[in-house]
Symmetry: C2
Subunit: 146 residues, 2 copies
């Protein structure tokens, strides 16, 4: 691939993730309009815990592509909201396991629906084949850049 094949300006929006930012902002707005007072980042933690409860913070780092320090603060905030709690692992005392509380349960259905609806709106008019190409390209870009 030559140095000049792609113009910087054209790819600028890709670098800055304009499209994904727009989707995230929209989803955040939909949460707020529905009276759900959580951020997208907090929701992404809950999302993984709904799939598998009791993950360690380190495991949440891996699954959400986040830093240890980010996870610490995210869990701090979600715990303050009463949606999760840290429980020290009995096997390894370095490890905190993060468990959902009962208060988190009502959020699951509502946020899933809003996320689905938001993604469907975002992907209006885009074919399944195009989605597959985007996913494939993203995977390679991620591998090339990580």
């Amino acid at each position: 691939m030559s140095n000049n094949q792609f113009k910087r300006g054209e790819l600028y929006s890709v670098i800055n993730g304009i499209a994904s930012t727009a989707v995230a902002r929209r989803l955040q707005k939909n949460f707020r309009n529905a009276g759900l007072e959580i951020t997208i980042e907090q929701w992404s933690i809950l999302y993984h815990l709904w799939k598998e409860d009791g993950l360690s913070q380190q495991e949440l780092c891996t699954r959400t592509f986040r830093d240890k320090a980010s996870i610490t603060r995210l869990i701090d905030n979600i715990e303050r909201l009463g949606l999760v709690e840290r429980i020290a692992s009995k096997e390894d005392r370095r490890v905190n396991l993060v468990y959902l509380t009962d208060a988190s349960k009502p959020l699951q259905e509502a946020t899933y629906n809003l996320a689905n609806q938001t993604m469907n709106e975002a992907l209006q008019g885009i074919s399944k084949e195009e989605i597959e190409i985007v996913k494939s390209v993203f995977q390679r870009v991620y591998e090339n850049s990580k």
Copy 2:
């Protein structure tokens, strides 16, 4: 488009912009390794000023897809680095025009080269046709979500 055509989990990385985050992080690292002490966000402002100097803050909002408050703080920081300066518009006293200083000049060539190199590495093994599809999809996602 049915509600179940796309699985949330598969699109999760798109929502969170994992790929674009990885590219941005890599570019930031390349800047730092080259001794360039500016952030990607600061660079994005300089990038637009190198194309056209003396833009208003509002115009920078539009071109960088950013909030007014973000621009205010970004310009604060870049101004503190001595790379730009605010000059009040004579036509409209509400407006600040942002001008590059001489100190910003040496950055232009170096950052352009690093940005080009970073993008080329990120896009290794990706065809021109795929790029076009991604850009087209992103444009529609952005329009659908903004």
